[in-house]
Symmetry: C2
Amino acid sequence: MKISSKGENALRALIVLGQHQGNVMTIEEISKRTLVTDNYLEKILLQLKKLDFVTSKRGIGGGYLLRKKPSEINIGEVVRQLEGPLSPMGCASVTKYEPCELEPGCQLKPLWSLVRDTIALVLEHTTLEDLLENRVSSLKGEDFVVFKK
Amino acid sequence: MKISSKGENALRALIVLGQHQGNVMTIEEISKRTLVTDNYLEKILLQLKKLDFVTSKRGIGGGYLLRKKPSEINIGEVVRQLEGPLSPMGCASVTKYEPCELEPGCQLKPLWSLVRDTIALVLEHTTLEDLLENRVSSLKGEDFVVFKK
DNA sequence: TCTAAAGTCGACTAAATCAGTCAACTTTTA
DNA sequence: TAAAAGTTGACTGATTTAGTCGACTTTAGA
């Protein structure tokens, strides 16, 4: 159930860019603040650019900046684009469903669907703005519960 | 955010063993019902045995069977033992915390913690018995919600 | 118009993990 | 004592991951 370093580092970069909205930042500057090597960051930023989350300016004084407002950048979508489907198994994926030989009647699929849906619930309701403003609340202390209506 | 085939196949095996409680099942029989090759199942069952979820009997008439009652087999624990921590990132892991250079003040960690906690909430509240009796309810149709108290 | 600063692109690699195979071995029962 | 079954360890092939490297293009400003 892991997030790879690519996804993690992409989110780090978006956060740093969000903290400097309006200003372009060079790969080197982003690298300093995210602690990701610039060679690797370059790859990730290029991918974020292709996905239209960021844009860039070449030449002297160039660099990267956010393409959309932080409130319009959905974390679920970022994770999905960089890491693949949110579902732990293809059979429970909404965006990239893969049939399984054990369907129907599989007693595992409902579990994977539930896991997928709760992950999606959290990630798709979080925007970059939420992260920037520390609006993600912890479940610790049972502030949150999942319950059946 | 994937479950590997090892975790999936281990759960399949446990389900099949749960459906035949009291009877030993050979690797070959389990293989037929889970659609996992017996060479690979052998590896997985051995691991499940070391973890004390199943037990085995050698020789003619031998095979595998559950070691505990299905109601005592916690799916979160099975997944954790076979796949590693439930948390998507080490910094948010409860059972295997790994420090990160960006702590404290990291704006991502609360998100990973929330994801970990919701995954744990689902998986740790599910037992093998729940799976066998199809007691895992789907989030579809918004039967469930996550909310802040 | 030249130069240095920046992003862009493609090829390559080293390590890790995963999924799976195989052969030899031990235990047990009939 | 033979056959059925689990046990063990070594091995392999494919894939993914996390980078590295070098050559190239674009741009601003002196």
